[in-house]
Structures are given as C-alpha cells and as structure tokens.
C-alpha cells in the first residue's frame, strides 16, 4: 500500500506549538508511507489540489491528513481524495489541533504526540478498504414540533416548497410566545397583526396538517424514514364539528382557574378559546376545573352547543406519521423569578413579569389594553423595569444573556408613555445589549423621545411603603444608591429552555446543553443542524432568540429540509456492520441488542440461521460487533482489527505477538 501524509500548519494554529516539518519527517518512517509533507492550509483550495496532485504523481492509494478535528473537515477531505480518484474511505485524519496544539503547552511534547496520532491514523488506514454507499428512498413529509413563530415559518416554507408538513403544537392554539405580545420591537407594530395572517396560512395551507393540544410520544427510524407517534390530548370537544362560535365559553359557569394565556392575571372559563385569533379557533375543556369532569354535574356547554360537539367521553388519541425530516421548534420558557426572594416572592401583587405586562398592554388582554396594576386596578404613574432577572446571574445558574430583554424593556417603556402620557418609567439595567438593525436607535428613542429614566445598576430589594413599592437599587454611574417609589414593578425575566425539552431531546437523540437548550451540529457552520441526521433546529430551543432571528432560523431549517428531501434517493453511510456468514452461528444476540432493528435473521442454503444487516437501517454504532461472541459481525471502517491496530500503534505488543 502507498500512503501519503499531509501535516497541516493551520496558519499558526498548529504550527505555533507543533513542529510540523519534523512530524512530516517522522511520518516518512512509518510503514507504507511513501510520501509525507507539511502544508499551510490543507483545507484551502491549493491545499486540496496539492493532495490530489500528490495522489496522482506518487500514485498513492491512501491519504492521511493531520489537521483539525474530523468533525470539522473529514467530509471536505473525503471529497478531495474522491476527486483524486480514490475511494473516500481510503482516508484518515489525525486531530493535531483541538487535541494537541490548542491544549498542550510544550512544543516538543506536542510534536511527539502529533507524530503518534499520525502513526495511529496510518496504522488504521493500512487496514481500511474501499466502501460504497447504498442508496435508499425517503419519505417526502416533514414533522415540525412547536407552533411558535419559528415553527410556523419552518412549516410554511416547507409546505410552499412542496413538502407535506405535520405541525405539532402542545398548546390549544399555535402562535407561541409571540401571540401573547402586544407590540414588537423595533417597529412597534402590532404583534398579532404580523403573526395572525401567518397563523391563518397554516390553517389553510393544503400541504399542512395541524395537530394542537398534541405532543410527540415517540420517535423511531432514521433520516429519511422516521416513524413518529403523536399523542392528541383529549379536548372533550369534537373539533371536526366545533365552529368556534364561543357560545359555550360565554355560558360556562366555572370560571375559577387562572388563565395561562393571560399569564394568570385573570381567570378563564373551564371551556375556552384562548384568544380571538386562535388557530384553530376551537373550544377545549380544562379537565381539572370543569364541573362536569370533576363533579359530574353541569354539562351546560353540551346543552348550549348548537352543533352538539361536546364529548365528555373523549379520550387521548395516538396518531402515527412517517416523515423524512424533523424540525424542532419548541421555543423557550420564562425564568421563574421567585428564585429572587428580594423581589418579594409573590408577596407584592404589583411586582409582575414582562410577559404579564404585555398582557396588560394588549387590547385582547384582561384589562382591554388599559394598564391597571393588579393590586387595586389603579393606573400606575411610576413604573420601574428591572432587567436581567434570571439573566447573567451565576447565583441562580443563569450566567447567559437572554438577548432580547433589553429590547422588549425599551419597547415596554415606550408603550407605557403612549398609554399613560404623565407616567415616568425607570429602567434598571446592567448593560444595554442592542445589536441589530435599528435596535440601538430604538433604545435611544426610549430615553430621548419617551424620557425613560435609564439607571445603570441592579436592584437589591423591593419593599412596600404605603400603597407604593420602594425599589432600592444602585446607580453605578452616579456611584451611589437610589430609591424609587413605584406604583408598578415589571421584571424583565430571562429565557430558559422549554419545559420538557430535555425529555423530547431524548426521544430525538438530540443532546441538550447544560441549560437544556439543544446543541447545534457546529456553532458556526451548522447552526440549524443537529448531530442526528434529518433533525433540524429552529428558534429559541437552540438558545434565546428574538423574533427576527427565530423566523430566520425557521427558514434556514426549512431550506435544509427541502435540500435533504429534494434528492430522489439518499446515500447511506457505508460504515455499517457486515456479517461474515462463515463465522456466524446464528445465535441472534446481535438482533436482540441492535437499537434500530437493523439486523434480521435469514437462513443460508443449508437452512442454518444467520444474521444479516439491513444496510440502510444500520446506523453504524457497532454495539452488535462487541456483542457477537464469534466476532462474526464487524462494523466497517471501525473493525476490531482497525481499532486494535491503533491500540498497537500506541502500545506496541510486548510479551506476546499480536495475532492480526
């Protein structure tokens, strides 16, 4: 075998702490290495051309590149060696950047380590063999999880792109957080006027099937062929009949449970349509408070319903859908500010969250768009906004910046002045984070045109004095303590990962980060991909985002889906398990352990049971390879021999000869 080795400098990233030329020189002493050199940027066009050229000139049949992590550029170089006429699997990478030059201080140790990593790669490559991908059909349907603005955008773009879409939403209506907002920054245009039409499009689009009050129960399969089960929770209303006339809502006598859509500022009837623009505009019963379902008496809604769609016997329903790709757009939840005891832990009625304030501002809200404070319904004059409640705060395990609070606080300060001209807003902030088109100008307007008093400092405590709340904070610019007698205090609560996100991640095999936000495939180059092929991210489920960013990501995820499903056939990774029938004794252990049901039992011509791998189903985890007592089933590209070769490269066999 003739192997060529290329040691990348990566500018100074590697060359800075690794002696690349000497590594290249050492590599030349390794078995089968006939050519070895160092190069400035292996991944650059000249770098790749050099590799291709070398393959041709030195008629190499295998290539090792020592550079960054394979998770970054393995595909790049595989394509390069392919262009050079080799099989893409006759290539190995040694990670001498992330695992060497960036973590080791001393040059000679790094250089030695790099050389050994190259040796490992060479030893493995010597045992590689050409592999050819199998092709398989994909289901031309997309599952979008979450009907917030990101999910809505992704669903519409996919549907417009000609794909069938199944949109699953946990709540009764789509719209997500944005549907609760009164206005949006920096244009101060009406949130529901912007979002409403898109929601209607969802309802009317021929390619879109909408399941609300529904959650993903289970996910099986793999890219191109996912089998998903959706649980449609019982609403006790037959939505095929319900016209959304709202008669039942008017008549319902049980109105004691807090209204989640209005952030518990008021109560809602037990049968309800959350808001006027709800999609679908259908009524649903809250089982925990409905008199009929709890006490077995009432049933008024059933009596008044003109189309007789109330069904107290209704049960949850499981729906199975096959899809080729999945977009996760489960959004975020608001930080629970009760973790700040100094803000009263709910003892003070007039300390509310920013989202509750949105509902007070909204014409469809509990106060019809008039700002009235919860305690006594009075119109507040002094309104204090406290930013970074649950953001940039290690002590409550939220060290990250939620990104959009600065902007919505500025918006709310502006709206406050619009609603109550003789009001005065005070905004306690740490730093104003307003990158984005017209964003900083917007915060300036809040101060300059609307006279919001911005105070740089955190608030240490809030305490009642008479019918006011004294807000005691710092003005670090004045270098002292300040107090404001407030009528209303609005906490700019930060964003945290949506409840249930982690559990959903387990079903989708998408890992969450330490705060429960889903981890993208690459922070720069694959922001909407995940490490599970065919599953994409959109919106705040990947990290706090404002509306434009969420919409952008929704479209980005959609474009990835359309790209994926535009191919007639998908290529499966040929690095899958392969059975050696001569060794297989048909014990079936591999069939039991395979998580994907990718191994089936067949009979050879003598009728003996044998295992056989279904290439397109196998995901290449190699669990079976370790399980097989005969060593009869081997994971291609990661065979026992290949891995042991790497081990031996590091720890040369001593007392016993190795038996490869």
């Amino acid at each position: 075998m003739r192997i060529g080795v290329f040691i990348c400098h990566c500018g100074s990233n590697i060359a800075g702490t690794v002696d690349c030329p000497s590594v290249a020189a050492t590599a030349l002493t390794y078995p089968d290495v006939v050519f070895s050199t160092d190069t400035m940027y292996a991944c650059s066009e000249p770098g790749q051309d050099a590799i291709i050229q070398a393959v041709k000139d030195k008629n190499l049949d295998g290539v090792v590149v020592a550079s960054c992590t394979p998770r970054m550029h393995e595909q790049t170089f595989r394509r390069a060696v392919e262009r050079a006429g080799l099989n893409r699997y006759m290539f190995e990478m040694a990670n001498i950047r992330e695992h060497v030059s960036w973590i080791g201080k001393t040059k000679d140790l790094n250089t030695g380590k790099a050389a050994e990593l190259v040796r490992m790669a060479v030893e493995k490559l010597r045992r590689n063999r050409p592999l050819v991908a199998k092709r398989f059909e994909t289901v031309k349907r997309v599952l979008v999880i979450g009907g917030g603005v990101a999910g809505i955008q992704a669903a519409l773009d996919c549907a417009d792109g000609g794909q069938e879409v199944v949109l699953v939403e946990r709540e009764q209506s789509i719209g997500g957080k944005m549907a609760k907002l009164d206005k949006t920054f920096p244009t101060v245009d009406c949130s529901s006027c912007v979002l409403g039409p898109k929601m209607v499009d969802i309802a009317q689009h021929p390619n879109i099937t909408l399941y609300t009050c529904s959650e993903v129960e289970s996910v099986g399969g793999y890219v191109g062929n996912f089998q998903v089960t959706v649980r449609r929770k019982s609403t006790y209303v037959d939505w095929t009949k319900c016209t959304g006339c709202g008669l039942c809502v008017e008549k319902c006598p049980s109105r004691k449970h807090p209204d989640p859509f209005n952030e518990n500022l008021c109560n809602a009837p037990s049968i309800n349509i959350p808001f006027p623009q709800a999609i679908p505009k259908k009524a649903a019963i809250n089982a925990s408070s409905c008199l009929m379902l709890t006490k077995g008496k009432c049933g008024l809604c059933a009596k008044v319903c003109p189309v007789k769609c109330i069904d107290f016997e209704q049960k949850d329903e499981l729906v199975n859908v096959d899809v080729g790709a999945i977009v996760v757009a489960t959004g975020y939840d608001l930080f629970d500010w009760h973790k700040y005891p100094q803000y009263g832990e709910g003892r003070y009625k007039d300390v509310i969250t920013s989202m509750q304030y949105e509902r007070l501002l909204s014409a469809s809200g509990p106060t019809g768009g008039h700002i009235k404070r919860p305690s006594d319904g009075k119109e507040p004059k002094n309104v204090v906004f406290i930013q970074c409640v649950g953001s940039r705060d290690k002590s409550v395990d939220r060290p990250y910046c939620s990104g959009f609070c600065c902007m919505y606080t500025a918006k709310q300060a502006i709206l406050t002045k619009d609603h109550i001209p003789d009001s005065q807003s005070y905004v306690f902030y740490m730093d104003i984070r307003s990158p984005g088109k017209m964003y900083d100008e917007f915060t300036r307007r809040a101060m300059e045109e609307y006279g919001a008093q911005y105070v740089r400092g955190r608030v240490a405590m809030i305490y009642p004095k008479g019918d006011k709340l004294v807000v005691r904070g710092a003005d670090t610019l004045a270098g002292t303590q300040v107090e404001v007698p407030a009528d209303l205090v609005v906490l700019a609560v930060g964003a945290e990962s949506a409840k249930g996100a982690v559990q959903l991640g387990e079903k989708l095999r998408v890992a969450p980060d330490q705060y429960g936000f889903f981890v993208e495939s690459h922070p720069k180059l694959k922001p909407v991909e995940t490490n599970t092929a065919g599953v994409f991210l959109a919106g705040a489920c990947q990290g706090p985002k404002d509306i434009p960013a969420s919409v952008g990501q929704g479209s980005a995820a959609a474009s990835k889906v359309l790209g994926l499903l535009s191919k007639a056939m998908l290529e499966s990774d040929p690095a899958v398990s392969r059975v050696n029938p001569a060794r297989c004794v048909g014990c079936g252990k591999c069939i039991q352990t395979c998580p994907f049901g990718a191994i089936k039992e067949i009979q050879d011509r003598f009728g003996n049971p044998k295992a056989e791998v279904i290439d397109t189903v196998c995901q290449g985890c190699g669990i079976c390879t370790v399980t097989c007592p005969q060593g009869a089933i081997q994971l291609e590209h990661f065979t026992d021999n290949q891995i042991l070769a790497e081990v031996n490269a590091l720890c040369p066999p001593k007392m016993f000869a190795n038996f490869e």
């Binding site: 005891p341 100094q342 832990e345 405590m461 305490y463 004095k465």
Partner: protein, 294 residues
C-alpha cells in the same frame, strides 16, 4: 429533654440582662435545658473581626473548645452577634490551614466539633408548636406585632443555615402561635446600625429611625426583636432618634422571649419589662385578658 450548652454573651450580663433572664425562663418552661458554658469569654463581637479574622475566630474558638470539654456538640446563644462570630469561626475552621492558625493562639485547641444555633432556632426547630400552644395561659390576642430579625441572624445563608435570608418567619410564626396579630414587616433583615451607636450615633439614628418608621407604617403596637444590639438601638436610643429626626416614635421594643414568657404566664420579675426604656404598658394593655372560666 433537650440539652444545649448555653452562651449568654457579654451584653446578657449588662445592657440586655432581661433578654438573658427571660430566655432562661422560657427555655425552662419549654423543657429546653440550658447548660451554662463554664467560664465562657467574649466572642470578640464585631470589633474583633474588623481587626483580624484569626484573632476573631480564636476568641470564639476558645468558647467552642470549652463546649467540647463539656462533652457537648450543640450550643445556643440568644445574641445574633455572638452567633455570627461563633458560626463564622466554625465555618472558617473547616479549612484546616485556618484552623491551625487559630489553635496556635489557644491554650486548649478547638476540634471544631460544635454546632452553635440561636436560641430562637432551637425553639423553632426542636419544640413542638402544639406543646407551646398548650402551655399558653395568656394569649397575646389584640396586640399588633412587627417582628424584626436583624441583619445577621439569617445572613449569609451559607453560614447561618437558619430560616430564610430575605423573609425569615420563625418569630412571626411563634408570635402568631401565641395569638398575637403579626403585621408583615418589610424591613425584617435591614441593619439597625449595629455597634456604631457609640462611635457614630448618627448612623444608628438614621437606620434605626427607618425601622421605627416602617414599624409605624404597618401599624405595629410593638416591635419584637431577637438581638440585644437591635433592641438597644431601637429602644434605648429611640429618644435620641426622635431628637435627631424630629420624630416622636413611641414604639416599645420587646425581646421575643419577653412576650413568649408573658404568654406562658412566667413571673414578670424574670421577664424584666421594667428594663425597657420605651414604656411597654400601653402596648401590653392592648392584650385582651382571657375570660375566666365560670
């Protein structure tokens, strides 16, 4: 019967004598045995820790060592200032290096094996409320009380490990249990000016004035404290505060143990109401006498 080593604290011998006597009385009544620490010495109070932490810890550790020689592991003190010093010393001595430095100053080395609590915590966590209820002979019905905990009984939570650091409730619950009407006091853990009474009276006047003002706002007949320093600043200096702030506060400031003792029907002599500077009679007068059973 619960037994704890008892550390009265210097002020218990002087300015807050009544706190000490009433504490002993109520503990006796509630079957909590307070065993005096033999030959205890001053914990160093705030002056010590403002000079040096090792010195401060050593002054406290001497007493912890005394408790260890008593073969006891649990100590209690009525005074939050002493409590902070004793607990902080113990907390810091978890670091062996620091512990060695401290023991280097001591005759008898401290093993740091004592957990010190405030008497309030002992009562709140070890005495069954029902038992207290059962022993109440004069319910405090009719009096409006604001409970003031002072700044250091619950802070910092990592060290003090008791109740809540922003909104403690132990005294509130106790007083409510005795039948008093407890008004929500917003400045429960605000500082009263601590030991600055003498060197910087102006500080105490302003800070304690704020507290009295808050007490008046919530319509309290009396303020109840668990701290000798707080009590002294609010009570003894109330006149000074009135002069300094041109106010006319007349809010009696009790130790919670005094009212607890009162409710339990303990002999007035042991409760030392007469030692209070702001005349408590008016406030006590609001307490409705229980109807005699026919």
């Amino acid at each position: 019967m619960l037994k704890v080593a008892y550390y009265p604290g210097c002020s218990g011998q002087g300015t807050s004598l009544e706190y000490d006597t009433s504490t002993r009385a109520v503990c006796k009544a509630l079957d909590v045995e307070l065993v005096d620490i033999p030959d205890w010495s001053c914990c160093g109070s705030s002056p010590a820790h403002t000079v040096n932490h090792v010195l401060s810890a050593a002054l406290s550790a001497r007493n912890l060592a005394q408790v260890e020689t008593m073969g006891m592991t649990k100590a209690a003190t009525p005074c939050p200032s002493c409590l902070t010093n004793l607990r902080t010393a113990a907390h810091k001595m978890d670091d062996p290096e620091f512990k060695d430095k401290v023991n280097a100053l001591l005759d008898v080395p401290c093993r740091n094996a004592v957990d010190t609590q405030s008497v309030l915590q002992v009562l709140a966590e070890n005495v069954d409320p029902e038992l207290i209820k059962g022993k109440v002979v004069k319910p405090l019905t009719g009096i409006k009380i604001a409970c003031y905990y002072g700044c250091i009984m619950n802070r910092p939570p990592e060290v003090m490990r008791f109740d809540h650091h922003e909104n403690p409730m132990a005294m509130d619950n106790l007083m409510a249990l005795l039948g008093a009407e407890v008004v929500p006091f917003p400045l429960k853990v605000e500082c009263c000016g601590a030991s600055y009474g003498i060197p910087r009276g102006d500080i105490v006047h302003r800070l304690s004035g704020k507290l009295l003002d808050a007490g008046r706002d919530v319509g309290a007949d009396a303020i109840v404290t668990a701290c000798p320093l707080c009590q002294m600043n609010l009570d003894l200096r109330q006149g000074q505060i009135n002069d300094a702030l041109r106010e006319n506060f007349r809010i009696p400031v009790f130790y919670y143990t005094q009212l607890l003792g009162y409710a339990l029907g303990i002999d007035r002599a042991e409760l030392g109401f007469e030692k209070l500077c702001v005349d408590p009679r008016l406030a006590l007068g609001r307490i409705k006498q229980p109807q005699q059973a026919m």
